[in-house]
Assembly symmetry: C2
Homo-oligomer: 314 residues x 2
DNA sequence: TTGTAGGCGTTATCAA
DNA sequence: TTGATAACGCCTACAA
């Protein structure tokens, strides 16, 4: 019966347990989320909130997270978070949370504090990189900051003494952008450089060209630009070529690996690479701590969280 | 009572209805999806299956579809479909369908016939571009075919008399690839050209170079290559440059617009562009027909379903 | 070690 | 026009 299909296995003889399980499989029995949710007050779905960015690979992330959660008996569904143009930005998310009553919600860093609190208030566990294991809610996503640091560090190493951070136009206020930027700013401060200039790069040739032109116009020393994404980096690299600016001599450009395309073009992009398995480490640990389950392998202490793919643009 | 909170409003006096509604709002009452699903045998969730491709913009698609469905009282969740490496390729999907008992499932063209039938057998409505409105299950996704045709047509127009189709390596058997290819083949037949050669292009510089080398090795006439995606096209364009093959003189390359990056690089990519609003037309119409609701605006008869962004590679 | 009954919130049916 | 009540499938507490 239901006893067996839950944890209460050990109350019965192995024989009975086997028989029941056998039957369940044969009949193709899958317990209904509805009934369960009704009785428990909470379903066994976990919502994964997909950030509004083309991330390295949503599918890979979902695969890892799902695998962990399925071992614990949860189901993962993805909620695609739209940016703007809706009544309340997160109305859809709230509605989903109320209706599904999910066991948990996994945020990869795209939700605001406010949204996270609102969700939590419904009694739904919230797992987020910005929520330490019980730590203060204000914690930053360390991976994002580390990416910014790695980008800046690389540029500094290559000899650039003036740095800039290139946001994707219209996304300047994204959590990720801000955090990566702050990593760059940190390194600048440490090394005694001026704080990084801010760029807003649109993903079209003309726009990118004018942004780059404005940056370089008054300058005679080379400048290193850390970019929000490989696409932004590509926009700048080809903008540079089109206005006769030499890369990497006059301007150094480092992207953030989010697809193979940066390595296909010429010049090959220099790109920071945050291993998504590492970045998921926190989430996976949170899953294990929250729902009980095997802890994911701990990263060796000196593990390279962020590495740099050395291309031809720095 | 519950009667009022449903459609059965008109059975009561306005007064009563108002009082009940008032109370409901005051208590912050939200009707539980669980209870509803249990009673109905079916939840009001609709699963949108996200194809394993970086599509033009998953978020845009989700936005359009969600907006339609929310007007009809449905909730949309996304199921990210992984490719391989799991017991049964679609085990997760099946499980999700059984557990959620969704009102419907929207496939954008990535599911196999078999999977669709299996899902439908559980009593879940299936909306798919390959399923006409009551038409035969074997119908092709006309948009995909049209894309292939447009690519081939453009290449022919530009003077290429030998055509090839470049699949993304490892995805040759994807529904989309096959259908687009068949569009190319169709045009070849119509114009009296030889059937298109098949290429499998990996997304790395070395691999792409060798594929292109093999294609051109024995050839002296220019060849036009229709590509599965802009990324594949970029791989080929830069592979050509690296082995001293002139684009578009020796080889013409046309991609499939799936992001701004193709328009940022130099040479600017020529790319076919299938308007996702048009491609969603079928799905939206199916939604309206299945669940009742406003029909989406009908495309003007001569509407350009697929257009070609003319770049510098053909 | 096993079976049973009551309740979760909603819908639908039937009686008043 | 209303109110009561029996499912729906699952979980849990308690009885056998």
């Amino acid at each position: 019966m239901s006893h067996i299909l839950n944890g209460q296995v050990e109350r019965f003889t192995t024989e009975t347990v086997d028989k029941v399980r056998q039957a369940a499989v044969e009949l193709g029995y899958v317990r209904s989320a509805a009934g369960r949710a009704l009785a428990m007050g909470r379903s066994d779905f976990v919502i994964l909130v997909a950030p509004p960015t083309t991330l390295t690979n949503l599918r890979d992330i979902v695969d890892v997270v799902s695998a962990d959660l399925e071992k614990l008996g949860f189901n993962v569904v993805v909620h695609v978070h739209h940016l703007e143009g809706f009544p309340t930005p997160s109305a859809r998310l709230y509605h989903l949370v109320e209706a599904l009553r999910p066991a948990g919600l996994i945020d990869l860093g795209s939700l605001s504090e406010e949204d996270l609190l609102a969700v939590e208030r419904t009694g739904c566990q919230v797992l987020s990189p910005t929520i330490g294991t019980g730590g203060p809610r204000t914690a930053r996503d360390e991976l994002s900051v580390a990416i910014g640091r790695a980008q800046a560090h690389h540029l500094h190493l290559r000899g650039y003494r003036e740095l800039a951070y290139a946001f994707l136009a219209g996304r300047r206020d994204s959590t990720w952008g801000r955090e990566r930027m702050s990593g760059v700013a940190e390194v600048c401060a440490q090394r005694g450089l001026a704080p990084p200039e801010h760029l807003d790069v649109p993903l079209d040739a003309v726009g990118a060209r004018s942004v780059l032109g404005a940056l370089l116009g008054q300058r005679s020393t080379p400048v290193g630009v850390a970019c929000y994404s490989d696409e932004v980096a590509i926009a700048l690299v080809f903008a540079a070529a089109s206005i006769g600016v030499q890369v990497p001599r006059d301007v150094g450009i480092i992207g953030l690996y989010n697809g193979p395309v940066g390595q296909l073009v010429s010049p090959r992009l220099t790109s920071a690479y945050g291993d998504f398995r590492v970045s998921l480490g926190g989430i996976r640990r949170a899953i294990a701590e929250t729902y009980g389950g095997a802890l994911p392998p701990v990263q060796p202490p000196g593990a390279q969280v962020v590495s740099v793919l050395e291309g031809e643009t720095t």
